[in-house]
């Protein structure tokens, strides 16, 4: 439709201060920062630009109320059961609703052809992204750089982004892999630039991230859409299912497959330790860590849960814990 999505999530600490006085103390720092950032919005120019919020967690649901932004947010109501027929049906209806909104905004019609070509563009991006993940697993690409590439997804036209990642891969692929070291798996709440505190600390502690399941990194999108039906409704259905059913965010009630995804990576790449990052106030990830920890430990993996936010003051404390973890 000639539109590009732009991600809003922010990892900026300073800006969070702008919203500190009129938001709950224990609010998720990511949303606090995003909310602060919206203070910079120039209302006159953006009146017609909608911003779309999938209701993934309670903070997001109440975000509009707290931030009081103009224009009002358009909520995509996310069914929290994604394995059943009802949830999938409802999500598809939400997606059709979104299409109507965008069509009204632009005055253009979404059609089968543009959907198909966009699916193809994303398939290509997914292929390139797969190679990026491979290089990281082979230790050619440092965890921090992987995060830089993944974080910038959807901040530019997807084709250009893919092209640039491809170019970068050509350069990096010639580099020798880093010596076998202490690889860890990073799970939990999202990490967003510029708040790479935890990544830098993990490196300082003599470890590197070989894999992760963060929704701003490896899990930034669940992969390309496979469809059987090339009709408009067929592709829409495949699209909706792909982004709903395949998502393993802890916000879902029936999310037992997340552990599989983590265990798989751990087994295939001989990673022994999991660092679990919880942003203070990020309840879904916090809750799920209690289920994940015993299951990982029972299989002989080491587990370290780190609860922090965007402040730098606790860095030394975290570093000490990470160093101790690295020695195991």
């Amino acid at each position: 439709m000639g539109l590009h999505p732009l991600r809003l999530g922010s990892g900026c600490f300073c800006v969070g201060r702008l919203s500190a006085s009129h938001s709950p103390v224990l609010m998720c720092p990511l949303l606090k920062a995003t909310m602060g950032l919206l203070q910079f919005q120039a209302p006159t120019q953006n009146d017609t630009m909608p911003w779309v919020v999938p209701t993934t967690c309670d903070w997001v649901v109440k975000f509009q109320e707290l931030a009081n932004t103009q224009p009002e947010a358009y909520f995509l109501e996310l069914p929290h059961l994604h394995r059943g027929e009802k949830g999938q049906q409802r999500w598809l209806e939400e997606i059709y609703g979104l299409v109507r909104l965008l069509e009204n905004q632009t005055g253009r019609k979404l059609n089968r052809k543009t959907l198909l070509s966009s699916v193809q563009i994303f398939m290509h991006a997914w292929k390139v992204f797969g190679r990026l993940i491979e290089l990281r697993r082979k230790r050619v690409l440092a965890g921090v750089w992987f995060m830089v590439a993944a974080n910038s997804f959807l901040l530019d036209s997807i084709e250009i982004w893919t092209e640039r990642v491809h170019q970068m891969l050509e350069t990096v692929a010639t580099h020798p892999p880093a010596p076998e070291g202490n690889g860890v798996f990073l799970a939990g709440s999202p990490i967003i630039f510029p708040n790479f505190k935890l990544l830098h600390l993990i490196e300082t502690a003599g470890m590197d991230v070989y894999g992760d399941d963060l929704c701003t990194s490896e899990r930034i999108w669940p992969g390309a859409v496979c469809y059987e039906e090339p009709s408009y409704r067929g592709i829409m259905r495949a699209l909706a299912e792909r982004y709903h059913k395949a998502c393993i965010c802890p916000t879902f009630a029936d999310n037992e497959r997340r552990i599989n995804s983590i265990l798989n990576t751990l087994q295939q790449h001989h990673i022994r330790g999991v660092v679990y990052h919880v942003l203070k106030g990020c309840h879904p990830f916090d809750i799920e860590s209690f289920n994940l920890e015993p299951r990982l430990k029972s299989r002989g993996y080491h587990f370290l849960k780190i609860e922090t936010d965007y402040v730098q003051e606790d860095s030394q404390n975290i570093l000490t814990r990470l160093e101790a973890f690295g020695r195991i």
């Binding site: 193809q120 398939m123 292929k127 299912e241 792909r242």
Partner: protein, 317 residues
């Protein structure tokens, strides 16, 4: 080569061999576990359902005939059928069945016209599963009634003559339209032919709007399924590797949810599975879904394959 292409080639070769093969001396016998209809003159082999219901080698045989060489012959046919089923199991459905190919043609046509596929509610889909068991019971019981309980002889071959849409439709490929006519001989024949033509018409519409619509009701599928445990054909899932993306369910022509939902048992060859391997081709988990034959792995899912296959496919569309 892509599995899809290989399957398409196999399906078409088998369609021509089984529909026209007889004219070139190809004869695969009377025990084929697929809908290669014997009503097609010059066919290359016959569906076993006819032999099973008939009075020559099947259930309608009288007790005295059973004691003769015919009894042994019927056992031989049954033996060959079981052997073929064990050997290739559901590959008969997804890769060989000529009636399946016809259904795939209709689906291809519908997709070219970009008409959306009809969707069943999950509950409806589950309820439909029982229909093929009822049809199987029907085709087993009626011949027994004719042979031993004095059933009218015109009820013979009950499934072929009253239900099976292959009987009126498949002979059309050799220019035979006789099976579309009504038979006014008596009430039974009239009822049978009306049923047959009506079902065939309904099925045609159904098969156009729903992929492999007839397979939802196919009693052969049940017969093949019974032998899955002793077959060397295995369809397995590494349940710990599945991240639940749901591609398998999305791609399945039979809307099977079991592969996606299975969390404990590695054997995922379910009752309705046709082994078309659509799901395995679309599964992005490395070696999460795999098709085995004895100890050999015929094909396993992989992320790279998915990316390659679908990029290609989208270029085509």
């Amino acid at each position: 080569m892509m599995v899809t292409k290989l399957r398409l080639i196999t399906q078409h070769v088998m369609f021509f061999a089984l529909t026209y093969g007889g004219r070139f001396g190809i004869r695969f016998g009377h025990s084929l576990p697929c809908f290669s209809c014997p009503y097609v003159s010059g066919c290359g082999g016959s569906c076993y359902l006819m032999a099973l219901q008939g009075n020559w080698w099947g259930l309608q045989m009288s007790t005295t005939d059973m004691m003769t060489a015919m009894g042994l012959e019927s056992l031989a046919h049954l033996g060959i059928f079981i052997l073929l089923v064990i050997l290739l199991n559901k590959f008969w459905c997804g890769w060989i069945c000529p009636f399946g190919v016809v259904q795939d043609w209709l689906t291809y046509l519908r997709r070219r016209l970009a008409i959306h596929e009809a969707q069943f509610r999950w509950l409806t889909r589950d309820r439909l599963k029982t229909v093929k068991w009822i049809l199987l019971a029907y085709l087993l019981i009626v011949p027994l009634l004719i042979a031993h309980a004095g059933g009218h002889y015109d009820l013979h071959l009950p499934f072929c003559r009253s239900i099976c849409p292959a009987k009126p439709l498949m002979p059309l490929f050799v220019g035979n339209v006789r099976h579309l006519a009504l038979d006014f001989t008596n009430a039974v024949t009239l009822l049978f032919t009306i049923l047959s033509v009506t079902i065939a018409g309904g099925m045609l519409v159904g098969m156009f709007f729903k992929e492999r619509f007839f397979c939802l009701f196919c009693p052969m599928l049940v017969l093949i399924h019974i032998f899955r445990k002793i077959s060397p054909v295995r369809f397995e899932k590494n349940v710990d590797g599945c991240i639940g993306c749901g591609n398998c369910q999305c791609m399945c022509p039979m809307d099977i949810r079991a592969v996606h939902e299975q969390k404990t048992d590695k054997n995922v060859l379910s009752e309705d599975c046709l082994l078309c391997m659509n799901c395995t081709e679309a599964c992005p988990g490395d070696e999460v879904l795999s098709i085995r034959f004895f100890k050999w792995r015929l094909f396993a899912s992989s992320r790279n394959y998915v990316a390659r296959r679908f990029a290609q496919r989208q270029r085509l569309s």
